[in-house]
């Protein structure tokens, strides 16, 4: 051994240099997972066939593709933050009500603190409204993170508590009703954020019919994936999620990392609120109950492990798509909602089971 810290004369492992560049782009979406993608393809294929045989041919159309991806974006956006939380070994049951609380804040701001867009000072009002939404989202996350770090309570319990707290706060703020923005207060981009119709000019990139919600989600997904893979914070989050004791031994500030993760996840809750608001154009604080389960399901379907340390951004987006494709396909085939719920439940359990099989679980099967 020499005094030199970086080990000298270590030959670079040979094949890694060039061939990996193409793979690197896929890897960017962190720990590329083929399983969920195959499942998604299989599900799409099944519905397309059933639709041709039994339905009216509306499933495999470009228009429907826009609708499904937009709906998946509504879940996928907050699920980006949830992916980080789950990789860090936590969970956030308050994501749904925090999202609608932020959404309510946005609606209230567009009702009370903005002016119609053609009047002067409209831009300031809009910036203010969006900032308020973001601040509320981040505050919700911060509150979760700080309580979890300071009290060392289980995230499940803490966020179970804050879930109803956020719901109650939202209801007080909205006076227990739905909040509608003032007429003409919404800027045109926000009106069109979730547009999935025929007019090409109404899209973010005129002529390119991709819903704004989908574009925004993809951009932020790439940012999260890069954050998890290429930043010290990202690697520390994985370390904390895999084994907090080891992380502590290695000098990583575990409580601070935890707070940061929840606060960052709050950003995506706020963005999710923006998409949700763009979709329904109002704010109702009780809309969010149950939403957190879909968000968590998307992460788990995408390969996230509730014991921490494992999860993938691409997988999460695919997970959100799986949920919404089933939802949408069932609607197309006029299958009642109740059956859709059962199907999604079965798919979640089967997906996690298959993931377990790859890791040698259940043990009795691999004796």
């Amino acid at each position: 051994m020499t005094d030199d810290v970086s080990p000298a004369n270590a030959p670079e492992s040979a094949p890694s240099a060039q061939g990996s560049r193409a793979l690197g782009i896929l890897k960017l979406l962190t720990e590329f997972q083929i399983g969920p993608i195959l499942a998604l393809i299989a599900i799409i294929f099944c519905f397309a066939l059933l639709d041709v045989a039994l339905g009216n041919g509306g499933f495999a159309t470009l228009r429907n593709l826009r609708v499904v991806t937009h709906q998946a974006a509504l879940i996928g956006m907050p699920a980006l933050g949830m992916t980080m939380i789950i990789i860090a070994g936590g969970i956030d049951l308050s994501a749904g009500t925090a999202l609608t609380l932020s959404c309510t804040a946005l609606a209230v701001a567009f009702r009370d603190y903005t002016v119609p867009v053609e009047q002067s000072g409209a831009v300031m009002g809009i910036v203010g409204a969006l900032s308020l939404c973001l601040v509320i989202g981040v505050l919700c996350g911060l509150l979760n993170g700080i309580i979890i770090s300071l009290t060392e309570m289980v995230p499940f319990i803490v966020t179970l508590g804050t879930m109803t707290i956020f719901l109650g706060l939202g209801q007080i703020w909205a006076s227990e009703s739905t909040v509608y923005p003032g007429p003409g207060h919404l800027p045109i981009w926000l009106e069109n954020l979730c547009y999935t119709g025929k007019r090409g000019t109404d899209y973010f990139i005129p002529g390119l019919p991709i819903p704004g919600s989908v574009l925004l989600t993809i951009v932020l997904a790439i940012i999260v994936a890069a954050l998890m893979r290429y930043t010290v914070l990202g690697r520390n989050i994985v370390a904390v999620g895999s084994n907090p004791q080891t992380a502590r031994l290695c000098g990583i500030n575990v409580p601070l990392t935890t707070v940061l993760v929840y606060a960052i996840a709050g950003i995506f809750v706020a963005f999710g609120a923006l998409l949700y608001f763009g979709n329904v154009k109002n704010g109702n604080p009780s809309d969010g109950t149950g939403l957190e389960l879909q968000i968590i399901a998307a992460v788990v379907l995408g390969g996230g492990s509730l014991s921490g340390g494992r999860g993938s951004v691409l997988g999460t987006l695919v997970g959100a798509l799986i949920i919404k494709v089933i939802d949408n396909g069932c609607t197309m085939l006029s299958i009642p909602n109740t059956y859709t719920h059962i199907m999604i439940g079965v798919i979640i359990i089967v997906a996690v089971l298959i993931d377990g099989l790859r890791n040698g679980k259940p043990k009795w099967l691999f004796r």
Binding site: P7, A10, E12, S16, R229, V232, R235, A239, L249, I252
Partner: protein
């Protein structure tokens, strides 16, 4: 401690109680056991010896019914023995005490002993008739004074281990297997355990004793069987073989130097601690560490040795009158101390030392990302390059740097944990039981690395329960007793007896 001449010849001549013939087991491409043979006799203690990865655990799991053998036969008491599950094995008379305790901490001692075999009254517990049986079993392992209704988790590790033995006895075990039972026991409890093993032998029970420690094997066992790379490489009576012969059987080559030493000089004092206290331990402890010094810490389990190291690493908040490193005040957080060059190797690789589910690269980089990053962005390429370099340097056996830690053997895991300290470029190495549960060959490499660190002027604190290694590797040895560092002398002024005496001495506090 071997039995009388007559008893010996009688039992050797008789049919073995448990006979393992040509057992093979493979996992995918890996052959874990290759036609292994073993014979354990009633009233005798068989030592099963082998390095980590030699197949001891797989053999144990095959005997316990957790694995099915691919081929080969086993006979228990002359009858075909094919356990379908661990419960089945227990019913057939095989009692196993695993290295990691398998007791339910929240249940009472009685419930733990009867677990899995209660429910004789149509699902209802028959406490009355159980109680006598439990008392009797506790008596046999020297725990007659304990109340059967006491909570198991409140007992010491040593007591819990004996409760496991009692559990084996309660299920009428003919054979008791002990998997490295002394690895977490203080010396006094080891003696107590040996006494009980002796009692079991006198009761005609066959004991299979798995251990790394040849001294212990000599003390407690009659026969030996050595495994290497899944093969039976030797067996017989311990009286017929020397330690060196056993080691060369284990390692497959002659280990000429068990304790390689590297010459080094001790320089100036660098870490000075006075009046270090934390709750509950250590208590008012002083310590001085010099450049190029290897300071050993001996003492019983529970004397506060780990706690002392953890205080120094910043993992336990502590108060002290003086705490300086190279003349500067020592900061309190783990991260800040790490940046000043204090690095710690955890005693518990599994739950603290390494993140088992992450790759070697990720584990090596953990907390060291500063080296591969600028403005918070990590250079994955240089990280990978460094990881490959360390794997080569400390000779980790792995098929790639991306391999998950959990798939490596204990010794290789320990090398990764050690390499992380080297990658950190630590100046002060706090090593808590660095050779626990690893094979002879790797131990020697770790001793050599410690010596090389000292030769570079770095300082090492080496906590160990294995006195021969402390005496061989350290420059000075301090003994901890009830939370205090009671006596520090040059290694040459200590021997095993005096170390032990200082460790158990009654202090006047």
């Amino acid at each position: 401690m071997a039995g009388s001449e007559a008893a010996q010849s009688a039992s050797t001549a008789s049919q073995p109680l448990l006979e393992v013939c040509d057992i093979s087991k493979r996992f995918g491409p890996t052959i874990a056991l290759d036609q292994v043979n073993l014979a354990a006799h009633a009233g005798r203690v068989l030592a099963l010896i082998g390095e980590n990865g030699a197949g001891k655990s797989t053999l144990l799991k095959t005997l316990s019914g957790a694995h099915d053998a691919d081929s080969g036969t086993m006979r228990l008491d002359g009858l075909e023995y094919q356990p379908r599950s661990p419960l089945d094995a227990r019913r057939l008379g095989i009692g196993i005490v695993y290295q990691e305790l398998t007791l339910a901490p929240d249940l009472s001692i009685e419930d733990n002993i009867m677990l899995g075999r209660s429910g004789t009254g149509g699902g209802l517990l028959l406490r009355g008739s159980q109680r006598d049986q439990v008392r009797q079993c506790l008596q046999r392992v020297g725990l007659g004074h304990l109340s059967p209704t006491a909570r198991t988790g409140d007992q010491s590790v040593a007591t819990q281990q004996l409760i496991e033995v009692a559990r084996a006895l309660a299920s009428q075990a003919k054979i008791v297997l002990l998997d490295e039972p002394t690895s977490s026991l203080p010396a006094a409890d080891v003696q107590r355990l040996f006494g009980i093993i002796n009692d079991l032998r006198n009761d005609g029970i066959g004991v299979i004793y798995i251990s790394h420690f040849l001294e212990e094997v000599r003390e407690v066992a009659d026969d030996y069987a050595v495994l290497r790379d899944g093969n039976s490489v030797g067996s017989g009576q311990l009286t017929d073989i020397t330690d060196d012969q056993i080691i060369s059987l284990m390692v497959g080559r002659d280990v000429d130097d068990l304790f390689p030493s590297v010459p080094h000089d001790i320089g100036q004092a660098r870490l000075e601690i006075a009046g270090l206290s934390a709750k509950p331990m250590p208590i008012d402890t002083d310590l001085t560490l010099h450049h190029g010094e290897v300071l050993g810490i001996a003492g019983l389990v529970g004397a506060g040795r780990s706690e002392l190291l953890r205080c120094l690493a910043g993992l336990i908040p502590a108060k002290s009158k003086v705490a300086t490193l190279d003349g500067n005040r020592l900061p309190s957080s783990v991260g800040a101390r790490r940046r000043l060059g204090i690095g710690m190797l955890s005693e518990d690789r599994k739950s603290e030392g390494l993140a088992q589910s992450l790759s070697i690269t990720e584990n090596l980089a953990m907390g060291n990302h500063r080296r591969y990053s600028s403005y918070g962005l990590v250079d994955l390429k240089s990280r990978r390059k460094d990881a490959n370099g360390w794997i080569k340097k400390v000779e980790v056996k792995a098929h790639s740097a991306e391999q998950t830690i959990g798939e490596l053997s204990g010794g290789n895991q320990q090398k990764v944990a050690f390499a992380r300290l080297l990658a950190q470029d630590a100046d002060i190495y706090l090593l808590d039981e660095p050779t626990k549960g690893i094979d002879v060959g790797t131990k020697a490499e770790i001793y050599r690395m410690i010596g090389e660190l000292a030769a570079q002027g770095k300082s090492v604190i080496f906590v160990s329960s294995y006195l021969p290694e402390l005496l061989a590797v350290c420059d000075t040895i301090g003994v901890m007793n009830r939370g205090q560092l009671v006596e520090t002398r040059a290694s040459a002024d200590w021997n095993e007896e005096s170390l032990l005496a200082a460790a158990v001495a009654v202090t006047n506090r």
